[in-house]
Structures are given as C-alpha cells and as structure tokens.
Amino acid sequence: MTLLDLLLEPLSYDFMVRALVTTVVAAVVCAVLSCWLVLIGWSLLGDAVSHAVLPGVVIAYVFGLPFGVGAVVFGFLAVGLIGAIRSTSRVKEDAVIGIVFTTLFALGLVLISVVPSQTDLNHIIFGNILGISQSDQLQIGVLAAVALVVLLVKRRDLTLYAFDPVHAHAIGLSPRRLGGLLLGVLALTAVVALQVVGVILVVAMLIIPGATAYLLTDRFTRMLWIAPLLSATSSVIGIYLSYWLDAASGGLVVVTQGVTFGLVHLFGPRRGLVPTYLASWSRRAVANG
C-alpha cells in the first residue's frame, strides 16, 4: 500500500469526508477566535463558556431549536452569573468561574440523563465527528459562517478592544459591547467545536491555535492566518490518525494540536527554546574563543 493509498482510502467513505470537512470548518473558526482569546487572557472564560453551554444545547434539542440559540443564551447566562457573583461576594474570580461553569455543566449532564432521545446526547460530551449527520453538518456550517463573518468584519475593533479598551472607550466605542460580541461568538463557536471534539475538549481548540501562532509572529494579521492553517492541518492529521489507529477522533485532534504547540515552542524559528539555546551557546563559544 502506498502513502497515497493510505491518504485516499479513507476518502472513499462518506462519513470520513464529512468528518474531515466539518473538522476543518470547526478548526478554522475556533482558531480565528482563539487569536483574540489568548491575547485578552480569556482562556479560562473560554473553558467556562464552552462547558456552560451544555444545558442550553440539551434544552434546544428538546424544543427542536437550533443548538446555537440555547448555547448563546447559556453562554451569556454563565458570564452574567460570574459577573454578578463576583461583584456581590468576596469570592475571587477564578473560584466564581469554577463554581458557575461546573454547576451549569453538571446541570447539562442531569438533563441529558433524563431527556429521552434517539440520538445519543453523550456524543455532545465526547464529540462524534465520525457519525455526524448531514443536518448537523449544515447547522455547523451556518454557525461557523456567522461567527467567522462577525469576527472578520469587526476584527479591527476586537483587536483594539484586546489591546487598549481604555482608548476604545475614549474614542466613543463601547468596550462592553465589544466584549459582549466576542462572548456571543464564543458561545456559537463552542457549539461548532463540540460536535467535533465534544464539550470537554472544546477549550483546546479555542486556545491552542492562537497560542501557537502567537509564538510564531509579532503581527496580529499573520496570527489570523497562521492559527487556522496550523489548526486545520493538525486536526486533519488527528482525524487520519484516528482512522488508522481506530482510536478516539476528538482526543486525537486535540493531542495533535497540543503536540504542534509543543514542537513550535521547542523548535519555532523566533522564540523556540532550542534555537534560542543554540544561539546563546554559540555566542558563548565565540566569546570564549
């Protein structure tokens, strides 16, 4: 069997083609969003919101609504609760975030256990990219398109918000509204990604690509290209690995992304540990004659 056969054989299955297409779509939109999340310092919040949307998704399923609606409602509910508890108690913010998102996530688990359903709602938790249906795929496509368009059209404002919210305010923009916009997109994106890797691992797709790109460039516009390219590539590799190894696809997508981050951190041309060490070693060697 040649390498080409290894690459092409999976594509003879419809479910693999659907899985690959959906994964790339999710990887791209998550990666673009992650560029802002890692710069603002919203990684923990991303984790919280991506877990907290679970009950919203289940309730939307029960009422036959699009998953995105339930997710956005619960995404904002989570952030609202975090803000409200933070400002009315002496508990520190990280603890408040921990309380709110685990409670909402647990509520989601309870709802899943009592809702009778033909499709296995457990797939929401662990992802089920190989079994994704056409209607799921359509929904993912629409949500991803909405999220991506909003992010790209408002990218300059969002970057200003991330860099200097005081200046944003001083020139008449509303940092609150921009933060809210980003949160809404975060909730939508969580729905897109949870179909691929499941609720638990969504946060990986929302953090790793942006963080990896940040190690590679000093230009935000370049981050917006590097992050989705790396994320899509490593996700596709993850899906192939899961096919060849017959192992969990969501898990392998995230492991591949994490390994990519590790490689960039070690060997990246600008800030990689190994090139930096070698450069200082050769400088010392020269200095010592």
Binding site: L39, V153, K154, R156, D157, T159, L160, A162, F163, D164, V166, H167, H169, A170, I171, G172, L173, Y214, T217, D218, R219, F220, R222, M223
Partner: protein, 246 residues
C-alpha cells in the same frame, strides 16, 4: 471663551472608598498642566472621570462645552496610558497603534483609507518615529513607546491630550524629547494634562500645576506648587493631613 475642560463639584466613590471629593477644575487650551499627587491620590480616577469611563457620584464634566459622553463620540480626548497598563508583547506594530487613533474617523469596519495612512505617517513624523513604524510596539525604548502613543493622539486629531506618568522608566534624554514635543503640541492649541511624580521636569514642562489629594489642594503656577509647604500637604507630610493619608 469656553474652557477646554471644566470640572465642577466632581465626586467619585468606589464602594466605601472616596476617590475624589468635590473637585473643581478648569483647563484652558494651549497650555500644559502638571497633575501632581502620590499613588492613590485620585489622578487616574480624575482622568477616567473626564473621559467618561468612571461615572461620577456628583458633579459635572464639560469637555469643550460638551458632556463627557458627547466628547467621547467626537474623539476629543486622547489618552497615553501608564506603561504598566499596556501589554507590550501584544502583536501590533507602531503603525498599527497609531492607526487606532484614526478609528473614530472611520466607518464601522474601521477600514483605513489613503487620508488615514497620510495622517498616521504625519503623526509618526511629528514624533520622529517614522523609521520605527514597522516595529512591534514592545521593541521600542521607554521614551519611544510614549511618543508612539502621543502620535496616536495626534492622528486622532484630539484637542485634548492626557498623559499618565509619561516619564516613569524613561531616561533623561528621552524625557527632554517628550517635554519638547508636548510644548510644541500645546503651542498648536492643544490642552495637555500630564500626571507625574517627576517634579524636576515640571518647570520646563508645565505652564501650571495642580496638586491633588482626593481634593484639589492647589491649582496655579508651577513655582508656587513646588514650594516645600505645598508639596508637604500634597504628599501627606503635613501633620494635619496625616489622617487623610493613612
């Protein structure tokens, strides 16, 4: 003529803590004013209240005859933040930062046009940073960083410029460059308010000084502000003010 900034009876509270009490203030165009006070004296709160970021409990702020909210929409005030409030590793270039000053003039996608690029180039030229336009913002020296943010204010076409501790961590030569630049910008008719602990730069820099300790202790000439007895009150060394400080 209306004053560039007029603050009357301004009080700001954060919960139980009184940050500013009954502040009256008038700043005229074309002048540089030094805002002197120790940490926690309310300097940053005063800036934020005048920019409409902090809501006052009492009192009123008028910017060029407008409310703070209206002035915001017109991009009247430019703010040069304290060094520690900026993420210097953020992946933006000097040019990108200065372009952010143009956003109040741009449509809702903030797509810059030729006029905006010209304005940014002129602003960078004015602060003598043209050759550094492509650098990541953190790769500038302390003084150059401050000038880059001043350039943002110039590109913004703001009539009022606030600088929060612009001389902290800046060497003497860069400090002199910034002082000269601010004097020129004031000569063009801008209103400039600079918070600083750097008292020896003050006579060169400022036309007048304000001493702040939650209230305005003094507004007037720099030489009077720098008298030991005025400074003692401002920095809480006066026995009468000890309670207020601790």
């Amino acid at each position: 003529m209306t004053a560039a900034i007029e603050v009357s009876g301004l009080s700001v509270r954060y919960g139980e803590i009184r940050a500013l009490e009954d502040v009256d203030l008038k700043l005229d165009a074309g002048r540089v004013t030094g805002l002197i006070g120790m940490n926690g004296s309310g300097k940053s709160t005063l800036f934020k209240a005048m920019m409409g970021i902090v809501r006052p409990d009492q009192g009123e702020v008028r910017i060029a005859g407008r409310t703070a909210a209206e002035a915001r929409k017109h991009g009247t005030i430019a703010y040069v933040p304290q060094s520690e409030d900026v993420d210097w590793n953020f992946p933006v270039s000097v040019h990108d930062v200065v372009m952010m000053g143009r956003y109040s003039h741009l449509g809702w996608t903030r797509r810059p046009g030729r006029a905006d690029r010209v304005a940014v180039a002129e602003a960078l030229d004015r602060v003598e940073l043209s050759e550094y336009a492509g650098r990541q913002i953190g790769q500038l020296s302390g003084g150059q960083r401050r000038r880059a943010f001043v350039a943002r204010g110039i590109a913004q076409e703001a009539g009022i410029l606030f600088l929060d501790e612009p001389f902290a961590g800046v060497d003497k030569r860069s400090e002199a460059t910034i002082v000269r630049l601010l004097r020129e910008l004031a000569a063009d008719g801008r209103t400039i308010l600079v918070s600083t602990h750097d008292l020896h730069a003050l006579p060169e820099l400022a036309d007048e000084a304000i001493l702040l300790l939650r209230r305005i202790l003094f507004q007037g000439s720099v030489s009077e502000a720098l008298r030991p007895e005025s400074l003692a009150r401002c920095f809480g060394l006066d026995p009468l003010e000890q309670d207020a400080v601790s």
